[in-house]
Symmetry: C2
């Protein structure tokens, strides 16, 4: 900056004013300074600016593997929302959901220049009591259990699972089977709970759920089990990827979809429309989750206090061709 000032024959302060687009600078001086900037190859140093201002214009995101469809969509929408508010994103990946790794991620976040944190973690995986939460840093949590001292934004898992289950019941199926996500995931637990609640509420029997782990492979294995059981006419799968595996298993075993077995997924990933058959599923509003969480975080950043709050983003059912009334 000093070089620019010398080159343009002005003071550093004037350079600063030009760099920040202040109005009270003479047109001639401004262009002279801009020329000097170009000539010297000057770019404002963000570290110094952040040091001076005490703000970074940067949001940290802590996330496990990005390889899950939902996480990725969420990240995408967070990135867009942050960019709309002129914030950038620092991504802190956590390899395994262990206590140690999460604590390390927080530590790293502190060393990083960050104004607030969005945590996308299936927090059931860690003992929230043990985690050393970043102190004095606004935090918003996505996809978490309750009783955290932070605002939480999440898809309305219960509503979604209810919609899926009731859709199948409406079609005339006597009950609905379930392929669940991993037991240590909050959203999986919520979906499973709501599925069984809905069945009970309608006075139906609740079959034992088949455990999956979100992957299409686990869906395939679950599908093989379900295909053996001729009682099964309707399956609610806790995500679309597992639904894909279920579909494959049913095809392999010659069980017609939706002729003999109806399948409903959860997520509405962009591919689901082109599954065979096109998948009826519960659409999550990932964009809404990302946007809301960024807004809440920015509120926390600006107003210091982040009052715990709970935002549930609604879902809706997308009817396609993988569901039909049971064969009579």
């Amino acid at each position: 900056m000093a070089d620019v000032a010398r080159e343009a024959g002005v003071s550093g302060q004037t350079v600063s004013r030009v760099a920040n687009g202040r109005s009270n600078v003479d047109e001639g001086t401004r262009s002279r300074v801009l020329d000097a900037m170009r000539k010297v190859g000057y770019h404002p140093n963000n570290a110094a600016r952040a040091l001076r201002l005490g703000r970074f214009g940067n949001i940290g995101v802590i996330m496990f593997t990005l390889s899950s469809f939902g996480n990725m969509r969420t990240l995408d929408s967070i990135a867009m929302a942050a960019s709309d508010h002129n914030y950038s994103l620092t991504l802190i990946p956590v390899r395994r959901p262990s206590q140690k790794d999460v604590t390390r991620a927080f530590a790293r976040l502190h060393r990083q220049a960050v104004d607030g944190v969005i945590i996308v973690i299936e927090t059931a995986l860690i003992d929230t009591a043990e985690v050393h939460w970043p102190a004095g840093l606004p935090v918003v949590v996505i996809d978490a259990g309750a009783d955290l001292p932070h605002p939480i934004v999440d898809t309305d898992q219960s509503e979604g699972a209810r919609l899926a289950t009731e859709h199948l019941l409406d079609q005339g199926h006597s009950t609905v089977w379930h392929v669940s996500g991993p037991a240590n995931s909050y959203s999986a637990t919520r979906r499973r709970q709501s599925w069984s609640d809905t069945l009970r509420h309608h006075g139906r029997s609740v079959p034992a759920p088949v455990d999956g782990d979100w992957t299409s492979d686990s869906g395939y294995r679950a599908g093989l089990v379900l295909a053996e059981n001729s009682d099964v006419t309707a399956v609610f799968t806790a995500n679309d990827q597992m639904a894909l595996g279920v579909l494959r298993a049913l095809h392999e075993r010659g069980r017609a979809v939706p002729g003999q077995v109806s399948v409903v997924g959860f997520d509405d990933m962009s591919e689901s429309k082109n599954f065979w058959p096109p998948l009826t599923t519960v659409r999550q509003n990932f964009e809404g989750v990302g946007r809301r969480s960024v807004e809440m975080l920015l509120h926390g950043i600006r107003h210091g206090t982040s009052t715990p709050a709970n935002v549930l983003v609604p879902t809706h059912l997308v009817r396609r061709e993988s569901t039909a009334p049971p064969a009579s």
Copy 2:
């Protein structure tokens, strides 16, 4: 920091030494300082540290939509590799691949605290001559055309397309049809070029490719076209998502896969194994691409100069059940 120093009755410099884990600090003093840190709620200020050191420990990543499977996997592997080298990642999303948006992303990157940049952009979309490349900042480009003044890391698109095409020819198909990615994507162009080169090299006729845009929807539309043509016995699809759409179209039109039509994809996304039928496809080593690009960038950061270089990461064919010899 001053508070901690006062609290512990030492100088700021000693606090700094403790914070950085230097060895030449008395055990008693160290623990006294650590206690004081905890009490005061001290955390090192990264802006100040960066200002002092001139480094940030942070890599910028410029990317278009994350909603594509490949981009996501690449980002994931970059994140892991960066984290292994103790760097974090700042994500700069670019909404549309326009000149203006890209330039703005670069500008923002400069304002951000970043030691180097990895650009994951189908650069054919922008006029590289017009872009104001970040000056004095190491850059590595993924998935780009040649003739850039920066190191490039990419999957060996040509090899992959050749493997796919030759696999189908080896099965006995007289020629191979192609569903291509969008014309303005380098990788799509490479795959298409290599597919036609391979056919020509084997003396086969080269059918007109059907244009897609990477989405499964576009694959479905392409599949409907191909299904009408009874000459079609083998299709090479430029990615797995479009292959999914092709499969759906073929099923809808009653064309058996692989009985009447064989299909090969590209990417090997984790779901492809559970398509119906399980998809034969070309596996990209996304992990390798991410790792190599981070390594090259760090080299550039450490040694100042980033000599243009070209790294091609090999692919290999994964044979599953969507391909078979043509019905005789």
